[in-house]
């Protein structure tokens, strides 16, 4: 199986507005796939359909060789797709560590009885959650602030914490919605290293991003959305020269 995710003819309508029209794309295992396009092109809508927050009006997904049954977000997470949000959505009044521990929820099983009786299994599991969460915080570089409230972390750390929380669900596909938004050049460079490392460690990445330099330097392939349609797909360098893409970004009248 070379392809991890295959989206086939995804369509999404909001009333009369067609936000996505027959969007098809395939993401290969182990690649960093960029999804770019002007504001309002439908990138986040695609994310929301993929992660179960919206119901598609047409089309389906093939994930990891099997049809992806999208009924609720938590099932998508269980299937192995984890996401972050365009506007950071951390659990503000939990510590950084606890945020990541929540990410382990979907891969652990302790219930009320285990928690109340502190059974051996529940204790072992709790310890494993703890260790894994701390490792992931170190991995993204927020380890030193594990006991600080998520809301008190600096912006760049919050972005990285959100990635750590998503990684805690053991995803096969990590879907990042504008992870570099609002970051300065240094923070973006650190983020780029982190994403490359995550890919090297075996997680495929789907990336929505506005920072063209980051996308071009990081992604193996990119797809360009415009008004809900895919207008180009391919290696960053070739997409950059594509006439339709230039028209979409700079205005059609120029071409």
């Amino acid at each position: 199986m070379k392809n991890l995710l295959e989206a086939r003819a995804i369509t999404k309508r909001f009333g009369g507005l067609e936000a996505l029209t027959d969007v098809a794309l395939t993401i290969a295992r182990g690649e960093i796939y960029g999804l770019i396009g002007p504001n309002g092109a439908g990138k986040t809508t695609f994310f929301n359909v993929l992660t179960g927050f919206y119901h598609a009006d047409g089309g389906d997904f093939l994930f990891d060789g099997a049809p992806l049954k999208i009924t609720a977000p938590h099932e998508v997470a269980a299937a192995g797709i984890a996401r972050t949000f365009q506007n950071i959505r951390l659990f503000g009044n939990m510590t950084a560590l606890e945020n990541v521990m929540v990410g382990r929820h979907v891969r652990t099983v302790a219930g009320v009885f285990g928690a109340v009786l502190r059974t051996r299994h529940a204790r072992d599991e709790e310890r494993a959650i703890h260790t894994r969460a701390r490792d992931l915080l170190e991995y993204v570089g927020v380890g030193a602030r594990q006991h600080d409230l998520a809301s008190s972390l600096p912006y760049g750390d919050q972005r990285r914490l959100e990635i750590a929380r998503a990684l805690a669900t053991d995803p096969k596909l990590l879907a990042l919605d504008e992870p570099a938004a609002g970051m300065n050049a240094t923070e973006t460079a650190t983020l780029k290293q982190l994403l490359e490392r995550i890919r090297a460690d075996g997680t495929t990445i789907l990336l929505i991003e506005h920072d063209v330099k980051l996308v071009m330097g990081l992604c193996d392939r990119v797809a360009v959305l415009d008004y809900g349609r895919k207008i180009a797909e391919g290696a960053p360098a070739s997409v950059q020269r594509d006439a339709a893409v230039i028209a979409a970004y700079l205005g059609g009248a120029l071409v």
Binding site: A78, V106, A115, S152, T169
Partner: protein, 360 residues
């Protein structure tokens, strides 16, 4: 959340002997409490302590729903009512059934949990004000049902309520009798004190352990950001229903204990005002923080009782009563809430996290 406990406590905790000594001291104080109170303040106050323990259990139950999962429930007293009626109907002359204790309490808890899910299921998509209104309606529906279910078939005996409810008893050993042991007199209020204390401590333990677990983190995650919680793979429907069911279970158990303790229940004991009072205990004490909630429950039960002395005091000092204590009660209660919102918005004894949240 536990790893946020202060440094001095962590150091203190490492010293095992000090810790056990502290536990032993607290245990001794709790055992001695009813006898000391009986000898100094009188038996009425032992009874007030019993009621305070009942409210502690209720407040801890509501704390799961409101404090952890962040679901505003204004009809919580309904589960208290369900537990109480469950006990009373199956242990009174009303239907000439006298089921054993070991059936009654678990059954009450189970039925209340069922009602918790019944309330939770249709309200899953609601939050904040909307959820509050629906739960408020639910609480009233239960009370009105209990009030009207004396026709066509007399199930609940309507507004007259159910009398002669069996006390807690195993065989001939009934808590409603007075025993003497080693020179100490165990009046019914003393007996119930020890049972209520045991139940309250158990519920505290369950609360603390749940809070610091996979389930508790899922509840708090939902409170903090439901969308993100769903994206992290939390089945918010089940986890919310679990919160409703757990909270209702605690309510159902306290309800059964209440019915046995009073020997009489009627729909009048389960009004909206009671729901609001329990919510106030949670909010005043410190939402989501077990010690705070316990403090809130004890204060809000004991303070109104203490105000009763204001009447006699006035006639002693001035020869007449200027302010009726019952008027003063609501006045001071309102004043206390306003002052608290101004000066301690996170509650009297908030968890460290919430204190920081509100100070930044």
């Amino acid at each position: 959340m536990n790893n946020l406990a202060g440094g001095h406590w962590a150091r203190f905790r490492h010293d095992r002997r000090t810790l056990w000594a502290a536990y032993a001291l607290i245990a001794f104080a709790l055992v001695a409490l009813p006898f000391v109170v009986d000898a100094t303040l009188g038996r009425t106050w032992v009874r007030i302590i019993d009621v305070a323990l009942l409210f502690t259990m209720l407040a801890l139950g509501l704390n799961i729903v409101v404090g952890y999962a962040g679901l505003l429930d204004l009809g919580y007293v309904a589960f208290f009512a369900v537990g109480a009626y469950c006990y009373a109907l199956l242990a009174s002359p009303q239907h000439a059934i006298h089921a054993p204790l070991l059936v009654l309490l678990p059954l009450g808890a189970l039925v209340a949990a069922g009602f918790g899910v019944l309330l939770g299921a249709p309200t899953l998509k609601l939050r904040g004000d909307y959820l509050a209104i629906v739960t408020l309606g639910f609480g009233e529906i239960i009370r009105i049902f209990l009030n009207n279910l004396n026709r066509p078939y007399n199930l609940t005996n309507g507004p007259q309520g159910i009398t002669l409810v069996d006390p807690l008893h195993i065989g001939d050993f009934a808590l409603s009798k007075t025993y003497t042991l080693g020179g100490l007199t165990f009046a019914p209020v003393h007996n119930y004190y020890f049972v209520f204390l045991a139940c309250a401590v158990l519920i505290m333990l369950v609360s603390v352990r749940l809070e610091d677990s996979r389930i508790g983190r899922a509840w708090i995650a939902i409170r903090e950001d439901e969308t993100a919680a769903r994206a992290m793979g939390i089945n918010t429907r089940n986890i919310k229903l679990l919160a409703f069911a757990m909270g209702a279970t605690f309510g159902g158990i306290s309800g059964g204990l209440f019915a046995a303790f009073q020997g009489f229940i009627s729909p009048e004991s389960f009004t909206l005002l009671d729901s609001i009072m329990i919510l106030c205990m949670v909010v005043l004490g410190g939402m989501g923080h077990v010690p705070g909630v316990v403090l809130g429950a004890i204060l809000l039960t004991a303070l109104p009782e203490a105000l009763r002395y204001v009447g006699p005091l006035q006639s002693d000092w001035f020869g007449r009563v200027f302010i009726d204590p019952s008027d003063l009660r609501m006045l001071l209660f309102g004043l206390a809430l306003v002052l608290m919102m101004l000066f301690r918005p996170a509650g009297l004894w908030p968890s460290k996290v919430r204190k920081r949240e509100l100070s930044t």
